[in-house]
Each structure stands twice: as C-alpha cells, then as structure tokens.
C-alpha cells in the first residue's frame, strides 16, 4: 500500500514537473509583448526581449510591443500597428503609453506606433533615429538584433544620464552656452566709470526756471492701413502629426521599408 502511495506520489510529482516545464514553455511562446507569428525568434530570444520590456515597463511606465507578421488583415502597416496595440489592451496608465514595433514582412515595412506620453517623447526625429538603428538589421534578416536595437534605444533614451549626455553634445546646447556666456562677458566688460548723478536740475536755483514760450501747433495728419495677415497654423506640433486609429485613440509614429 505504502509502495503504491509512493508510486502515485512519484507520478504526481512527474506530472506536476512536466506541467511546470510545459507551462514555462507555453509562457515563452505566449510572450505578452513579443508576438512573433513567423517564428523568426528563438525561445531564448523572446524571453530576453520580454525581460527587458518588463524592466522598462516597471521603471518608466511605458509598454513596448514587438509584432512580427506577414498578415496585416488587409490593413496598412500603420492601421494594423495602431489597432493591434489598441485592441490587445496594451499601454500603461490612462493614456495607454507605449510603443509598438511592427515588422510587416508582407509589405517589408518596419512601423513604429506611439501612444500616450510616448507620442511626445518619441517625436518624428526620435522615430527616425530608431528606424535608422532597426532597418539595417531587418534588411539583413537579423530580426532579433532589430528587436533588441528597438528595445535598447527606448531604454537608453529613457535613462537620465543618457539623455543628459545626448543633450550636452547637441549643437544647440553648446551654442546656447557659448552665446549666453559671450553676451554676459561683454555686458560685464563694459565697465562703467561711474554713474552720472547730475541732471538738468542739479544746479538750477530753486524756482529759477521760467517757461516763457509754449507752442503746440497742429500741422497735418496721416492715416495708413495695413491688412492683417492671418497666419494659418499648420497642424499641431508635439509628436509631429498624430492620427486617430479605428479605436478612436490617437497615435504617433512612423515607418520605413527595408
């Protein structure tokens, strides 16, 4: 009897063990943020990416999604990326902040869709920078490197020191520093000998000034008119052109073919 119990116990343990391994495997394939429908990535690669994405989400309140597919359900890369993000409930916070990288193998387009605070954070020039990093790998068929580059770019761009460094070595901040310091130095260099403290009344005897002649004669007048130019404002900045997806949420982003 005891023996049977032991055997059963062993069986039970084995089942649990197998189930555990299976569930782990299941989790790897069913990665929440890395959706590789074409199996370009190995299990290990998916796990690595997911771990990085989890860390970013925890630290910066921003959700990253990577989708590799060749079936965009007849939608454009932009529409598919936006809808995929919206209908699968991605995003952090009320504004559903996050980024989605769509690798559309059908159109051979890499599209990055931004949502919520990411729209402002990753404006057009940032999106271009990301695409600069990502598309060369895609052209070479190195999908893991491309995904890694996307995640790494977002992570380093969010880190304070990286941002500080990139700000320091931008042409604008160097120019601003030089110009301000030049102006201040020049102003301080115009060392005054001293302030003039004498005015036209200093040596005037009290009541010694008499005004004899006061004439104010009107001569002529002119009136001119200028048409007011109504400046047409070109669609709101910040994120450089947002659009509204089918779910009614607004997205930013951009893409490039590879």
């Amino acid at each position: 009897m005891l023996y049977l119990y032991k055997k059963l116990g062993f069986l039970l343990l084995s089942i649990i063990f197998v189930f555990l391994i299976g569930s782990q495997k299941l989790y790897a394939y069913e990665s929440h943020n890395v959706k590789d429908y074409l199996n370009y990535l190995t299990e290990k690669e998916v796990n690595n990416l997911q771990r990085s994405i989890d860390k970013i989400k925890e630290k910066h309140d921003l959700e990253l999604v990577i989708v590799i597919t060749d079936d965009t359900e007849g939608k454009s890369s932009m529409e598919f990326a936006d809808d995929y993000y919206d209908y699968n409930g991605y995003g952090v916070g009320d504004d559903h902040s996050g980024l989605l990288l769509l690798i559309d193998m059908n159109a051979r387009v890499a599209w990055i869709s931004t949502t919520g605070s990411a729209i402002v954070f990753f404006d057009n020039s940032k999106i271009d920078e990301i695409l600069d990093k990502v598309t060369p790998y895609l052209t070479d068929g190195r999908y893991y490197n491309a995904s890694k580059a996307f995640v790494n770019f977002v992570r380093s761009d969010l880190s304070y020191f990286y941002r500080a460094l990139s700000m320091l070595f931008s042409l604008q901040s160097i120019l601003i520093a030089i110009v301000i310091s030049l102006i201040v130095t020049i102003i301080l260099s115009i060392s005054s000998k001293g302030k003039v403290t004498v005015d036209s009344r200093t040596y005037e005897e009290a009541g010694g000034f008499k005004l004899d002649v006061v004439k104010d004669q009107f001569i002529r007048e002119t009136t001119t008119r200028v048409k007011i130019e109504t400046s047409s404002s070109s669609g709101g900045g910040g994120g450089g052109g947002t659009h509204i997806g089918s779910s009614g949420r607004s997205h930013g982003g951009g893409g490039r073919s590879f």
């Binding site: 304070y160 020191f161 941002r163 500080a164 460094l165 700000m167 320091l168 901040s173 160097i174 601003i176 520093a177 030089i178 301000i180 310091s181 030049l182 201040v184 130095t185 301080l188 260099s189 060392s191 000998k193 001293g194 302030k195 003039v196 403290t197 004498v198 005015d199 036209s200 009344r201 200093t202 040596y203 005037e204 005897e205 010694g208 000034f209 008499k210 005004l211 004899d212 002649v213 006061v214 004439k215 104010d216 004669q217 009107f218 001569i219 002529r220 007048e221 002119t222 009136t223 001119t224 008119r225 200028v226 048409k227 007011i228 109504t230």
Partner: protein, 362 residues
C-alpha cells in the same frame, strides 16, 4: 585731460636759504606738534596729544596773521617750518607733508593773491572710509587686474583739496522741433495707424548757481564730472587752516578756459529742461535751438577728493572719490586673462545645466 599724479613730483632736498614764513604750519597750542583737520569731528586734532580745537582757537594760537589778499612771492623752494628740511613741491602743490618729519605744510603763496580760494567744502569722509568705498567698488569689477585690489596700492589713497571753479549764470533757451502723436487701432481685417504732426516750440530761462568745473589739468575732467554733485549746504568760506592734514592743488586752468566747459554743461541743462516740458507726444525731434548764457560770475573753491592711482601696463589709472559724499568714479582696465577665464567658466556652467537640467524635463 592728461592725468599725472603730483606725488611723484614731490621730493625733498636738504639745505637752502629761503624764507620760512612762506610755509604755514599749524601747531598744537598745547604741545607744539602738528595739527590736522579731522573729517569726523569737523575740528582740528593734534595727532600727538589728541587735543581738539576749533578754527578760532587755532587762529589765536598761530601768531602770524595770514593776509592772503596780498600776493605772497611764489617760489619752488620751501622749508619745513618744523624741521627745516627743504620742500620742493611741483608748480601746483599747495598743501603737503614734510617727508622728513611728516608735519603738515601749507604753502601760503599758493593760496594768496589770485590763488586765494573763496569757498571750501570740508572733508566728511575719512581715509579709512574712502578705502572701504574703493574696496567695495573694485570688488564688483570682476575683470579688474589684481593689482587694483592690492592692499599696498589701496593704502596709497590720498586726500586732496582739488581746485574748482564755481559758476553762476543766467541762461536763455529756445527749442523748436517736430513732434508726432501716433494712434493705432484695428477695424475688420485692417490695422490703422494715424499720425498727427505738430510744430512744438519751447522757450524759457533758468538761473544756475555754483556749476562746478574742475580747475586742475592733473585730474581727468570726465571722472571729476562723475563724482558730482557736492552738497552745497556745507559750503563755507575758505580758510587755510582746513588745508592742514591734506594735500592741496592750486588751479592751472584759468577761469575763462573753465567757462567754456561750464557753457557746454549749462547748454545741455537748459536743453534737457525745455525738452522735459514737451510731454504727451510719441516722438519729438529738435530742428532748431538757440541758447544764450549771460551774467556769468565765478568763484574759486576747494573741494575734497580722495585719489588712488594705479599703474597697469605702463598706463596710469586714477580713481577719484568725492571727499564729502563718498561717490566714486574711475576707469578700470580689463584683464584679458580674467575675462577669458570667466567666459569659459560661465559657458561650462550653462552647458552643464542645460544638459543635466534639461534631461530632467525632456
């Protein structure tokens, strides 16, 4: 005007045989030591026994009556009435110190005849206060070379009675010009500008009294103008006793030369005064003016100043402090090294704060 510091021209030779009465020295009636004027007490104080005296006490004590209306023979050789050493002062030095015995000496001839001043304002600021004023001022000049902040240089500060011409005059002025009044408004899609043109005339006269003009070529007129004004409530009649304890200069700019400078000042005063009565316009440009100055009268006066003279790169830089009000003026040269250092430092600070500060918000 050429700046030249007269102290360099002051030296002493031994021996000589010229009348001692040409030099006036005020002695303490109690102990016989030299007595100098004290700016805080506004009295004379013996530096040896600390006795204080007013002007009358000092006058009674000094036996010889000073009649300055008669010119006293002017010489370049004087004897210290205390120790007998020979003082050689330059042409305009009127009060000085004996370099041997540190006694105050007043050269009578330089205050007599046509050089007799009528008016005087006494020192209110002490030498120590003047030093503090200078230190505070030079501290703000961040590009000033370090020599200007040297204690030894600041200690060389000297109290000097500077010769001034004070002018009284009546001035008639007339200005004429075009003034505009501009009004803008918008109506519909148009912005309208209405400009009304006026011919504006102002005429008036003013009485000016005691307009000061620097009477010494040694002191830079531009800097002297900046330490004005003196408070004339404290003006008194000249008396030689006040000179004791300070250096003094006599004028070397004649009254008629000084009058030219005064006219320029006064012409600007009346023009500004008339212009200030043109109000309620957007613009006003003078097209015609005429100014007439009459009834000029002048008085010769002694006004207190403190001088600091610094040499930097072979050039003299003079700082003048008003000995009554403490107002300071002077030209500080700029040290290129300090300028570059400051510029680079500031640029670095701004650059780093843009980078690290900006990264917080982006």
């Amino acid at each position: 005007m050429h700046i030249f510091f007269f102290l360099c021209n002051l030296f002493i030779r031994e021996e000589g045989g010229i009348s001692m009465s040409a030099v006036k020295e005020y002695r303490c009636p109690n102990c016989g030591a030299g007595v100098g004027f004290d700016p805080i007490l506004q009295h004379w104080k013996c530096s040896f026994c600390n006795s204080e005296f007013n002007k009358n006490q000092l006058k009674t004590a000094s036996d010889i009556k000073d009649n300055l209306d008669e010119p006293v023979e002017d010489l370049n050789l004087y004897h210290c009435s205390s120790c007998g050493a020979e003082l050689i002062a330059d042409d305009t030095t009127s009060a000085t110190f004996c370099l041997y015995c540190r006694n105050h000496s007043v050269i009578k001839s330089r205050f007599s005849g046509r050089f007799k001043p009528e008016k005087l304002i006494t020192f209110r600021i002490t030498k120590e206060q003047a030093k503090d004023i200078y230190k505070k001022w030079i501290k703000k000049k961040i590009f000033a070379p370090s020599i200007f902040k040297n204690k030894e240089e600041i200690d060389k500060i000297t109290g000097v009675y500077a010769p001034y011409w004070l002018f009284d005059c009546i001035t008639n002025g007339y200005i004429e010009g075009q003034a505009t009044r501009v009004r803008t408004w918008t109506s519909g899609n148009y912005k309208y500008t209405n400009t009304k043109y006026y011919r504006v005339v102002r005429g008036g006269n003013s009485k000016y009294s005691k307009v000061p003009v620097d009477g010494s070529n040694k002191l830079d007129d531009n800097i002297m103008n900046l330490i004005e004004p003196y408070n004339y409530n404290a003006i008194t009649d000249f008396s030689m006793e006040y000179m004791s304890g300070f250096f003094a200069e006599k004028y070397d700019v004649e009254a008629h030369e000084a009058e030219m400078s005064m006219r320029k000042k006064v012409e600007k005063f009346i023009e500004d005064r008339l212009r200030s009565t043109v109000v309620g316009y957007s613009t006003f440009n003078i097209t015609q003016k005429s100014i007439n100055i009459s009834d000029c009268a002048h008085k010769y006066a002694m006004m207190p100043v403190y001088l600091i003279n610094n040499k930097y790169k072979e050039k003299n830089h003079i700082f003048i402090i008003n000995g009554q009000t403490g107002k300071i003026a002077g030209e500080t040269p700029i040290s290129l090294l300090r300028q570059i250092g400051f510029g680079i430092g500031l640029a670095l600070i701004i650059w780093l704060s843009i980078g690290f500060g900006g990264a917080l918000f982006v």
